[in-house]
Structure formats: structure tokens, C-alpha cells
Amino acid sequence: MPVTVTIPTALRQYAGGHASITLPAGSAGQILATLREQYPQLGKQLYNDQGALRSFVNVYVGDEDIRHLQGVETPVADGETVSIIPAIAGGVLDGAR
């Protein structure tokens, strides 16, 4: 049983329209690298020009953010789910009321 990577609604257009993609098990970093190779447009949405994950783009293995596990070294076993999850922020500006 391979690994399932879930793609958030607004990014599916960059991933062939798929809600989830199955990839071989490996580290989180390997899985993300394979994902970027298969869907370069998706890669551009997830990573900045310096090659780091964009702020507000989060990668979870199961219920935990990989930043709180072993980062890109986090092992992902067969049957586990990798979720790409956006955070959203905002607020009215000073003096704009």
C-alpha cells in the first residue's frame, strides 16, 4: 500500500485536478520531490524561489506538522497520508477603519 498525498482544493488545478495522489513510501522530502517532478506547476505554488516551502504552506504526516517531526527526514510508511495544508491569515490595516 503506497502513500497518499492530499492536495487542497485550490491547488488541484496544478496537480492534474487530483484530490489525492499516490506515491511510493519514503521520507517526506523524497515524497515532496517526486510530487514536484510529476507536477512542476504545483511545485511553484508550494516552494519559493529559494527552494523553501512557502510560509503558510504546511505539510502534515498523519496529524502532525513535519516541522514538529523530523522535517523533510520524517519517514512516511506505506498506508500513511501526507496532507498539504494551507494556513490563512489577514486583518484590517491600521487607520483603514
Binding site: 484530490a19 494551507p86 494556513a87 489577514g90
Partner: protein
Amino acid sequence: MIILTGDVYHAIAQHAEEIYPNECVGLLLGRITGMRTEVEDVFPAPNRWTAEVGLTPTDADHSQRDRFYLDPRDYLRADRVANARGLDVVGCYHSHPDHLAVPSPRDLMGAQAIGSGSRFVFLIQSVHRGRAAELTAWLLVDDGARFVAEEMR
């Protein structure tokens, strides 16, 4: 075209009034079919903004009255609830206490993890003196450079 079904309109207004004078935030569950985004239910989330999640150093001077943060954990929970019902997270909403229902530059900055050019909708509920006022709908376009108003009914 954004279509709000059932109790969605009322649920957002109620959440925004409850959290006033702070900004409220939540996700929208529904379906995207072609150019139509149909919202069937809301997933109210806590506003988890703190100075640490600030986008700029000056954020320490702010509070949840003029800042919101939707934590990815809440997004993940909403996504699971949606999937269990055969739905998707198709948008988000937040309130503007005593402010017009138009997106701020900071709303644009904080939307950058959402892919632009999709039918994922941003709803803004203005609240005037504790009472829900206008609700507007926006889509993110031009590689995330701006929001455009979208028709809603």
C-alpha cells in the same frame, strides 16, 4: 458564481456577531462544479492569531480585533469533516468588525498559500457596532496579486 445554500448566510452572520469586536474566521464546505462554487455548510474555526504568527514585526501592536489566523490544524479538521460528507473545503470566511467588507492588503498577503485562479472563495462579513452587515465574495487571481469581486446568491 457563488451559491450559498441553506443556513450558510445566517451561520456566518451569527458567528461574526458572536466574536465581535474580534475578527472571526471559518471554512466553507461544499462543491465546485465548473464555474460554480456551491457552499453547503460552514466550519467555524477559532481565531488563533497571536503576535508570533504575525506577518511583520509590527504585528506585536495588534490583536484579534484586527488580525485573524486560521491554523492549518483547523483546516485539516474541516477537510476531514468535508470528506466524510462527500464535500470539499471550497472557501473561507472572516469578519471585518466596523470596517467595509473589502479585502485588505494583509488579507491578500495571508492568502498566498491558496492557489490563485481557482474557484476557492473568500467571503468577508462586515459587522457594524455588533450587528452583521454586508457579506461579499472574492476570488484570488493574477498569481495571487489581487482579489476580484464575485457574484453571489
